[in-house]
Assembly symmetry: C2
Homo-oligomer: 237 residues x 2
Protein backbone atom coordinates (compact mmCIF):
# COMPACT_ATOMS: atom_id res chain seq x y z
CA UNK A 1 0.00 0.00 0.00
CA UNK A 2 2.70 2.42 1.01
CA UNK A 3 4.68 1.78 -2.14
CA UNK A 4 1.54 2.32 -4.16
CA UNK A 5 0.83 5.61 -2.44
CA UNK A 6 4.43 6.77 -3.07
CA UNK A 7 4.16 5.94 -6.75
CA UNK A 8 0.80 7.72 -6.90
CA UNK A 9 2.44 10.68 -5.23
CA UNK A 10 5.28 10.68 -7.77
CA UNK A 11 2.88 10.37 -10.66
CA UNK A 12 0.81 13.22 -9.23
CA UNK A 13 3.94 15.39 -9.01
CA UNK A 14 4.92 14.42 -12.54
CA UNK A 15 1.51 15.43 -13.87
CA UNK A 16 1.83 18.75 -12.10
CA UNK A 17 5.22 19.31 -13.73
CA UNK A 18 3.81 18.58 -17.18
CA UNK A 19 0.83 20.84 -16.48
CA UNK A 20 3.19 23.60 -15.39
CA UNK A 21 5.18 23.37 -18.63
CA UNK A 22 1.99 23.37 -20.70
CA UNK A 23 0.76 26.48 -18.88
CA UNK A 24 4.07 28.24 -19.46
CA UNK A 25 3.88 27.49 -23.18
CA UNK A 26 0.39 29.00 -23.26
CA UNK A 27 1.58 32.07 -21.35
CA UNK A 28 4.45 32.47 -23.82
CA UNK A 29 1.95 32.03 -26.66
CA UNK A 30 -0.26 34.73 -25.16
CA UNK A 31 2.64 37.18 -24.99
CA UNK A 32 3.72 36.37 -28.56
CA UNK A 33 0.16 36.84 -29.84
CA UNK A 34 0.05 40.23 -28.11
CA UNK A 35 3.38 41.14 -29.73
CA UNK A 36 1.91 40.34 -33.15
CA UNK A 37 -1.24 42.40 -32.45
CA UNK A 38 0.73 45.38 -31.10
CA UNK A 39 3.26 45.32 -33.93
CA UNK A 40 0.48 45.35 -36.54
CA UNK A 41 -1.40 48.12 -34.72
CA UNK A 42 1.75 50.22 -34.58
CA UNK A 43 2.37 49.60 -38.29
CA UNK A 44 -1.13 50.58 -39.35
CA UNK A 45 -1.53 53.60 -37.05
CA UNK A 46 2.08 54.80 -37.13
CA UNK A 47 2.31 54.61 -33.33
CA UNK A 48 6.06 54.66 -32.70
CA UNK A 49 5.79 54.19 -28.93
CA UNK A 50 3.83 50.99 -29.35
CA UNK A 51 6.38 49.72 -31.87
CA UNK A 52 9.16 50.46 -29.39
CA UNK A 53 7.26 48.52 -26.71
CA UNK A 54 7.15 45.48 -29.00
CA UNK A 55 10.89 45.73 -29.70
CA UNK A 56 11.79 46.18 -26.04
CA UNK A 57 9.66 43.21 -24.94
CA UNK A 58 11.23 40.69 -27.32
CA UNK A 59 13.78 39.75 -24.65
CA UNK A 60 10.85 38.49 -22.49
CA UNK A 61 9.84 36.11 -25.27
CA UNK A 62 13.43 34.88 -25.57
CA UNK A 63 13.74 34.42 -21.80
CA UNK A 64 10.53 32.39 -21.73
CA UNK A 65 11.83 30.14 -24.49
CA UNK A 66 15.08 29.44 -22.66
CA UNK A 67 13.29 28.80 -19.33
CA UNK A 68 10.69 26.42 -20.80
CA UNK A 69 13.34 24.62 -22.81
CA UNK A 70 15.45 24.05 -19.70
CA UNK A 71 12.46 22.91 -17.65
CA UNK A 72 11.43 20.43 -20.37
CA UNK A 73 14.90 18.92 -20.66
CA UNK A 74 15.11 18.61 -16.86
CA UNK A 75 11.80 16.75 -16.80
CA UNK A 76 13.05 14.49 -19.60
CA UNK A 77 16.19 13.73 -17.59
CA UNK A 78 14.46 13.22 -14.24
CA UNK A 79 11.21 11.50 -15.22
CA UNK A 80 12.29 9.62 -18.32
CA UNK A 81 8.77 9.76 -19.72
CA UNK A 82 7.45 7.49 -22.47
CA UNK A 83 4.67 7.62 -25.07
CA UNK A 84 2.29 10.57 -24.70
CA UNK A 85 4.28 12.36 -22.00
CA UNK A 86 7.46 12.14 -24.07
CA UNK A 87 5.58 13.42 -27.12
CA UNK A 88 4.21 16.32 -25.07
CA UNK A 89 7.71 17.40 -24.05
CA UNK A 90 9.06 17.05 -27.60
CA UNK A 91 6.07 19.06 -28.90
CA UNK A 92 6.73 21.72 -26.25
CA UNK A 93 10.42 22.01 -27.17
CA UNK A 94 9.50 22.47 -30.83
CA UNK A 95 6.52 24.78 -30.24
CA UNK A 96 8.54 27.28 -28.22
CA UNK A 97 11.14 27.52 -31.02
CA UNK A 98 8.38 28.54 -33.42
CA UNK A 99 6.86 30.93 -30.87
CA UNK A 100 10.25 32.57 -30.38
CA UNK A 101 10.59 33.04 -34.15
CA UNK A 102 7.09 34.52 -34.36
CA UNK A 103 8.28 36.94 -31.67
CA UNK A 104 11.27 37.83 -33.89
CA UNK A 105 8.93 38.54 -36.80
CA UNK A 106 6.74 40.78 -34.61
CA UNK A 107 9.88 42.66 -33.58
CA UNK A 108 10.79 43.02 -37.26
CA UNK A 109 7.31 44.42 -38.02
CA UNK A 110 7.82 46.85 -35.11
CA UNK A 111 11.04 48.10 -36.75
CA UNK A 112 9.24 48.55 -40.09
CA UNK A 113 6.49 50.44 -38.26
CA UNK A 114 9.08 52.93 -36.98
CA UNK A 115 10.54 53.45 -40.49
CA UNK A 116 7.10 53.78 -42.03
CA UNK A 117 5.83 56.22 -39.39
CA UNK A 118 8.32 58.79 -40.74
CA UNK A 119 7.03 58.52 -44.30
CA UNK A 120 3.93 59.50 -46.23
CA UNK A 121 1.07 57.19 -45.34
CA UNK A 122 -1.30 56.25 -48.18
CA UNK A 123 -3.99 54.49 -46.14
CA UNK A 124 -5.07 52.13 -48.91
CA UNK A 125 -1.73 50.34 -48.78
CA UNK A 126 -2.22 49.39 -45.15
CA UNK A 127 -5.76 47.99 -45.37
CA UNK A 128 -4.74 44.74 -47.02
CA UNK A 129 -1.73 44.35 -44.75
CA UNK A 130 -4.01 44.86 -41.73
CA UNK A 131 -6.40 42.18 -43.05
CA UNK A 132 -3.55 39.77 -43.57
CA UNK A 133 -2.30 40.54 -40.05
CA UNK A 134 -5.72 39.80 -38.58
CA UNK A 135 -5.92 36.49 -40.41
CA UNK A 136 -2.46 35.47 -39.22
CA UNK A 137 -3.28 36.45 -35.64
CA UNK A 138 -6.44 34.31 -35.82
CA UNK A 139 -4.33 31.38 -37.03
CA UNK A 140 -1.84 31.80 -34.20
CA UNK A 141 -4.65 32.04 -31.65
CA UNK A 142 -6.28 28.93 -33.12
CA UNK A 143 -3.00 27.00 -33.07
CA UNK A 144 -2.44 27.85 -29.40
CA UNK A 145 -6.03 26.94 -28.62
CA UNK A 146 -5.62 23.58 -30.37
CA UNK A 147 -2.46 23.04 -28.31
CA UNK A 148 -4.28 23.94 -25.06
CA UNK A 149 -7.16 21.58 -25.80
CA UNK A 150 -4.97 18.98 -27.56
CA UNK A 151 -7.45 19.14 -30.41
CA UNK A 152 -6.01 17.61 -33.60
CA UNK A 153 -9.08 18.42 -35.71
CA UNK A 154 -8.91 22.09 -34.73
CA UNK A 155 -5.20 22.02 -35.64
CA UNK A 156 -6.03 20.78 -39.14
CA UNK A 157 -8.61 23.51 -39.70
CA UNK A 158 -6.12 26.18 -38.60
CA UNK A 159 -3.50 24.79 -41.01
CA UNK A 160 -6.07 24.98 -43.81
CA UNK A 161 -6.25 28.77 -43.40
CA UNK A 162 -2.64 29.17 -44.47
CA UNK A 163 -3.54 28.97 -48.16
CA UNK A 164 -5.57 32.20 -47.79
CA UNK A 165 -2.64 33.91 -46.08
CA UNK A 166 -0.39 32.88 -48.95
CA UNK A 167 -2.78 34.24 -51.57
CA UNK A 168 -3.17 37.53 -49.67
CA UNK A 169 0.62 37.72 -49.53
CA UNK A 170 0.90 37.20 -53.30
CA UNK A 171 -1.71 39.89 -53.92
CA UNK A 172 0.12 42.41 -51.72
CA UNK A 173 3.41 41.61 -53.46
CA UNK A 174 1.90 42.18 -56.92
CA UNK A 175 0.33 45.45 -55.79
CA UNK A 176 3.62 46.68 -54.30
CA UNK A 177 5.61 45.83 -57.44
CA UNK A 178 3.14 47.98 -59.39
CA UNK A 179 3.59 50.89 -56.95
CA UNK A 180 7.35 50.66 -57.29
CA UNK A 181 7.26 50.64 -61.06
CA UNK A 182 4.85 53.58 -61.17
CA UNK A 183 7.02 55.84 -59.06
CA UNK A 184 10.59 55.11 -57.92
CA UNK A 185 10.07 57.47 -54.97
CA UNK A 186 7.82 54.72 -53.54
CA UNK A 187 10.65 52.19 -53.39
CA UNK A 188 11.71 52.47 -49.76
CA UNK A 189 8.24 52.65 -48.30
CA UNK A 190 7.01 49.87 -50.51
CA UNK A 191 9.93 47.61 -49.56
CA UNK A 192 9.09 48.07 -45.87
CA UNK A 193 5.51 47.01 -46.57
CA UNK A 194 6.78 44.01 -48.53
CA UNK A 195 9.06 42.94 -45.68
CA UNK A 196 6.15 43.29 -43.25
CA UNK A 197 3.92 41.15 -45.45
CA UNK A 198 6.73 38.62 -45.64
CA UNK A 199 7.00 38.61 -41.82
CA UNK A 200 3.24 37.93 -41.58
CA UNK A 201 3.51 35.12 -44.10
CA UNK A 202 6.28 33.57 -41.98
CA UNK A 203 4.12 33.88 -38.84
CA UNK A 204 1.41 31.92 -40.66
CA UNK A 205 3.96 29.20 -41.46
CA UNK A 206 5.08 29.02 -37.82
CA UNK A 207 1.42 28.74 -36.70
CA UNK A 208 1.09 25.79 -39.11
CA UNK A 209 4.18 24.19 -37.61
CA UNK A 210 2.55 24.41 -34.17
CA UNK A 211 -0.57 22.73 -35.60
CA UNK A 212 1.62 19.89 -36.89
CA UNK A 213 3.12 19.42 -33.42
CA UNK A 214 -0.41 19.27 -31.94
CA UNK A 215 -1.30 16.50 -34.38
CA UNK A 216 1.96 14.68 -33.55
CA UNK A 217 1.19 15.07 -29.86
CA UNK A 218 -2.38 13.80 -30.07
CA UNK A 219 -2.05 11.19 -32.82
CA UNK A 220 1.62 10.25 -32.55
CA UNK A 221 2.04 10.87 -36.26
CA UNK A 222 4.51 13.18 -37.93
CA UNK A 223 2.50 15.09 -40.55
CA UNK A 224 5.21 17.55 -41.56
CA UNK A 225 5.85 17.74 -45.29
CA UNK A 226 2.57 16.00 -46.05
CA UNK A 227 -0.40 17.48 -47.90
CA UNK A 228 -3.39 18.98 -46.10
CA UNK A 229 -5.51 16.07 -47.37
CA UNK A 230 -3.04 13.60 -45.89
CA UNK A 231 -3.05 15.56 -42.63
CA UNK A 232 -6.86 15.43 -42.47
CA UNK A 233 -6.85 11.71 -43.19
CA UNK A 234 -4.34 10.98 -40.41
CA UNK A 235 -6.41 12.96 -37.92
CA UNK A 236 -9.70 11.29 -38.85
CA UNK A 237 -8.28 7.76 -38.54
CA UNK B 1 29.97 -11.14 -14.33
CA UNK B 2 27.16 -12.08 -16.67
CA UNK B 3 25.05 -9.12 -15.60
CA UNK B 4 28.02 -6.85 -16.16
CA UNK B 5 28.57 -8.19 -19.66
CA UNK B 6 24.88 -7.71 -20.50
CA UNK B 7 25.00 -4.12 -19.34
CA UNK B 8 28.20 -3.58 -21.33
CA UNK B 9 26.47 -5.08 -24.33
CA UNK B 10 23.48 -2.73 -23.88
CA UNK B 11 25.72 0.27 -23.44
CA UNK B 12 27.67 -0.74 -26.56
CA UNK B 13 24.41 -0.96 -28.52
CA UNK B 14 23.28 2.38 -27.14
CA UNK B 15 26.53 4.04 -28.24
CA UNK B 16 26.08 2.58 -31.68
CA UNK B 17 22.56 4.02 -31.87
CA UNK B 18 23.81 7.48 -30.88
CA UNK B 19 26.66 7.21 -33.39
CA UNK B 20 24.17 6.23 -36.09
CA UNK B 21 21.99 9.29 -35.39
CA UNK B 22 25.03 11.57 -35.40
CA UNK B 23 26.15 10.16 -38.75
CA UNK B 24 22.70 10.66 -40.22
CA UNK B 25 22.70 14.31 -39.10
CA UNK B 26 26.06 14.78 -40.82
CA UNK B 27 24.78 13.09 -43.98
CA UNK B 28 21.72 15.40 -43.94
CA UNK B 29 24.07 18.34 -43.37
CA UNK B 30 26.17 17.28 -46.36
CA UNK B 31 23.11 17.13 -48.61
CA UNK B 32 21.87 20.52 -47.39
CA UNK B 33 25.29 22.10 -47.95
CA UNK B 34 25.27 20.71 -51.50
CA UNK B 35 21.79 22.17 -52.02
CA UNK B 36 23.10 25.61 -50.97
CA UNK B 37 26.12 25.33 -53.30
CA UNK B 38 24.04 24.14 -56.26
CA UNK B 39 21.34 26.76 -55.75
CA UNK B 40 23.92 29.56 -55.69
CA UNK B 41 25.72 28.15 -58.76
CA UNK B 42 22.45 28.00 -60.65
CA UNK B 43 21.63 31.57 -59.61
CA UNK B 44 24.98 32.98 -60.71
CA UNK B 45 25.31 31.00 -63.96
CA UNK B 46 21.62 30.95 -64.91
CA UNK B 47 21.65 27.14 -65.11
CA UNK B 48 17.95 26.24 -64.95
CA UNK B 49 18.49 22.48 -64.91
CA UNK B 50 20.66 22.72 -61.83
CA UNK B 51 18.05 24.92 -60.12
CA UNK B 52 15.39 22.33 -60.92
CA UNK B 53 17.58 19.62 -59.42
CA UNK B 54 17.77 21.60 -56.16
CA UNK B 55 13.99 22.06 -56.08
CA UNK B 56 13.29 18.40 -56.84
CA UNK B 57 15.70 17.17 -54.16
CA UNK B 58 14.18 19.17 -51.30
CA UNK B 59 11.88 16.24 -50.49
CA UNK B 60 15.00 14.20 -49.65
CA UNK B 61 16.01 16.79 -47.07
CA UNK B 62 12.50 16.69 -45.59
CA UNK B 63 12.47 12.90 -45.49
CA UNK B 64 15.81 12.85 -43.69
CA UNK B 65 14.51 15.29 -41.08
CA UNK B 66 11.44 13.16 -40.37
CA UNK B 67 13.48 9.92 -40.18
CA UNK B 68 16.15 11.33 -37.86
CA UNK B 69 13.50 12.96 -35.68
CA UNK B 70 11.66 9.67 -35.30
CA UNK B 71 14.84 7.73 -34.57
CA UNK B 72 15.87 10.28 -31.90
CA UNK B 73 12.50 10.17 -30.14
CA UNK B 74 12.56 6.36 -30.21
CA UNK B 75 15.99 6.34 -28.58
CA UNK B 76 14.73 8.82 -25.96
CA UNK B 77 11.79 6.54 -25.21
CA UNK B 78 13.75 3.28 -25.15
CA UNK B 79 17.05 4.32 -23.59
CA UNK B 80 15.91 7.14 -21.31
CA UNK B 81 19.32 8.80 -21.54
CA UNK B 82 20.62 11.39 -19.09
CA UNK B 83 23.21 14.18 -19.13
CA UNK B 84 25.40 14.29 -22.26
CA UNK B 85 23.46 11.63 -24.18
CA UNK B 86 20.17 13.45 -23.53
CA UNK B 87 21.75 16.73 -24.63
CA UNK B 88 23.05 15.06 -27.79
CA UNK B 89 19.56 13.89 -28.75
CA UNK B 90 18.01 17.30 -27.96
CA UNK B 91 20.76 19.00 -30.00
CA UNK B 92 20.08 16.58 -32.88
CA UNK B 93 16.32 17.25 -32.84
CA UNK B 94 16.96 21.00 -32.98
CA UNK B 95 19.80 20.85 -35.52
CA UNK B 96 17.75 18.94 -38.09
CA UNK B 97 14.96 21.55 -37.87
CA UNK B 98 17.48 24.24 -38.81
CA UNK B 99 18.98 22.05 -41.55
CA UNK B 100 15.54 21.49 -43.00
CA UNK B 101 14.91 25.24 -43.06
CA UNK B 102 18.28 25.85 -44.74
CA UNK B 103 17.09 23.34 -47.33
CA UNK B 104 13.91 25.41 -47.79
CA UNK B 105 15.99 28.54 -48.35
CA UNK B 106 18.16 26.74 -50.94
CA UNK B 107 14.97 25.67 -52.71
CA UNK B 108 13.79 29.29 -52.63
CA UNK B 109 17.11 30.44 -54.18
CA UNK B 110 16.62 27.76 -56.84
CA UNK B 111 13.21 29.27 -57.70
CA UNK B 112 14.74 32.76 -57.93
CA UNK B 113 17.48 31.32 -60.19
CA UNK B 114 14.81 30.11 -62.61
CA UNK B 115 13.09 33.54 -62.66
CA UNK B 116 16.38 35.35 -63.06
CA UNK B 117 17.62 33.06 -65.84
CA UNK B 118 14.89 34.47 -68.09
CA UNK B 119 15.95 38.08 -67.55
CA UNK B 120 18.86 40.31 -68.51
CA UNK B 121 21.93 39.40 -66.49
CA UNK B 122 24.17 42.29 -65.44
CA UNK B 123 27.11 40.31 -64.07
CA UNK B 124 28.16 42.89 -61.52
CA UNK B 125 24.97 42.35 -59.53
CA UNK B 126 25.78 38.70 -59.00
CA UNK B 127 29.36 39.04 -57.81
CA UNK B 128 28.48 40.27 -54.35
CA UNK B 129 25.66 37.77 -53.99
CA UNK B 130 28.09 34.98 -54.96
CA UNK B 131 30.58 36.21 -52.35
CA UNK B 132 27.88 36.28 -49.69
CA UNK B 133 26.80 32.77 -50.74
CA UNK B 134 30.37 31.49 -50.38
CA UNK B 135 30.68 33.00 -46.92
CA UNK B 136 27.39 31.47 -45.80
CA UNK B 137 28.37 28.07 -47.19
CA UNK B 138 31.65 28.26 -45.26
CA UNK B 139 29.69 29.03 -42.08
CA UNK B 140 27.35 26.08 -42.61
CA UNK B 141 30.31 23.78 -43.30
CA UNK B 142 32.04 25.05 -40.18
CA UNK B 143 28.93 24.56 -38.04
CA UNK B 144 28.55 20.96 -39.23
CA UNK B 145 32.24 20.37 -38.64
CA UNK B 146 31.96 21.75 -35.09
CA UNK B 147 28.99 19.42 -34.57
CA UNK B 148 30.94 16.41 -35.90
CA UNK B 149 33.94 17.13 -33.68
CA UNK B 150 31.83 18.46 -30.77
CA UNK B 151 34.10 21.48 -30.80
CA UNK B 152 32.56 24.40 -28.87
CA UNK B 153 35.42 26.79 -29.67
CA UNK B 154 35.06 26.17 -33.38
CA UNK B 155 31.32 26.79 -32.98
CA UNK B 156 32.01 30.20 -31.46
CA UNK B 157 34.33 31.21 -34.26
CA UNK B 158 31.74 30.20 -36.87
CA UNK B 159 29.08 32.27 -35.07
CA UNK B 160 31.44 35.25 -35.14
CA UNK B 161 31.38 35.22 -38.96
CA UNK B 162 27.68 36.07 -39.02
CA UNK B 163 28.34 39.79 -38.50
CA UNK B 164 30.16 39.88 -41.88
CA UNK B 165 27.25 38.14 -43.56
CA UNK B 166 24.89 40.72 -42.10
CA UNK B 167 26.99 43.63 -43.32
CA UNK B 168 27.27 42.09 -46.81
CA UNK B 169 23.51 41.68 -46.77
CA UNK B 170 23.00 45.35 -45.85
CA UNK B 171 25.38 46.43 -48.63
CA UNK B 172 23.52 44.36 -51.25
CA UNK B 173 20.18 45.78 -50.06
CA UNK B 174 21.41 49.38 -50.36
CA UNK B 175 22.81 48.68 -53.82
CA UNK B 176 19.55 47.08 -54.99
CA UNK B 177 17.44 49.97 -53.70
CA UNK B 178 19.62 52.31 -55.78
CA UNK B 179 19.12 50.14 -58.90
CA UNK B 180 15.36 50.18 -58.40
CA UNK B 181 15.22 53.93 -58.00
CA UNK B 182 17.39 54.49 -61.06
CA UNK B 183 15.20 52.48 -63.37
CA UNK B 184 11.78 51.02 -62.53
CA UNK B 185 12.32 48.34 -65.18
CA UNK B 186 14.84 46.82 -62.77
CA UNK B 187 12.22 46.22 -60.09
CA UNK B 188 11.37 42.56 -60.67
CA UNK B 189 14.92 41.38 -61.23
CA UNK B 190 16.20 43.40 -58.32
CA UNK B 191 13.53 42.01 -55.98
CA UNK B 192 14.57 38.46 -56.87
CA UNK B 193 18.16 39.31 -55.99
CA UNK B 194 16.97 40.87 -52.72
CA UNK B 195 14.97 37.77 -51.81
CA UNK B 196 18.00 35.60 -52.60
CA UNK B 197 20.24 37.75 -50.38
CA UNK B 198 17.60 37.48 -47.67
CA UNK B 199 17.59 33.67 -48.03
CA UNK B 200 21.38 33.63 -47.63
CA UNK B 201 21.16 35.84 -44.56
CA UNK B 202 18.65 33.39 -43.05
CA UNK B 203 20.98 30.45 -43.83
CA UNK B 204 23.70 32.28 -41.87
CA UNK B 205 21.30 32.61 -38.92
CA UNK B 206 20.44 28.90 -39.05
CA UNK B 207 24.16 28.03 -39.13
CA UNK B 208 24.55 30.16 -35.98
CA UNK B 209 21.69 28.28 -34.34
CA UNK B 210 23.52 25.01 -35.01
CA UNK B 211 26.64 26.49 -33.39
CA UNK B 212 24.59 27.34 -30.30
CA UNK B 213 23.36 23.73 -30.09
CA UNK B 214 26.97 22.50 -30.32
CA UNK B 215 27.91 24.73 -27.38
CA UNK B 216 24.84 23.48 -25.46
CA UNK B 217 25.82 19.91 -26.27
CA UNK B 218 29.44 20.27 -25.21
CA UNK B 219 29.12 22.73 -22.33
CA UNK B 220 25.55 22.08 -21.18
CA UNK B 221 24.85 25.80 -21.40
CA UNK B 222 22.12 27.50 -23.36
CA UNK B 223 23.81 30.43 -25.11
CA UNK B 224 20.88 31.48 -27.28
CA UNK B 225 19.97 35.15 -27.06
CA UNK B 226 23.32 35.98 -25.46
CA UNK B 227 26.03 38.17 -26.94
CA UNK B 228 29.03 36.75 -28.79
CA UNK B 229 31.25 37.89 -25.91
CA UNK B 230 29.06 35.98 -23.44
CA UNK B 231 29.16 32.95 -25.72
CA UNK B 232 32.97 33.07 -25.86
CA UNK B 233 33.17 33.41 -22.09
CA UNK B 234 30.92 30.39 -21.48
CA UNK B 235 33.00 28.28 -23.84
CA UNK B 236 36.33 29.29 -22.28
CA UNK B 237 35.19 28.51 -18.75
Amino acid sequence: MEKNSISQHISHQFNEELEDVRNKVLAMGGLVEEQVVYSMESLVTGNVEQAELVISRDYQVNAMEVAIDEESVQILARRQPAAGDLRLLIAVIKTITDLERIGDQAERIGRMAIHLAEMERPKSQYTELANMGERVRTMLHGALDAFARMDAEAAVSVAQQDAKVDSEYDAIMRQMITFMMEDPRNVRRTLDIMWSARALERIGDHACNICEYVIYLVKGKDVRHTSLEQMEKEVRE
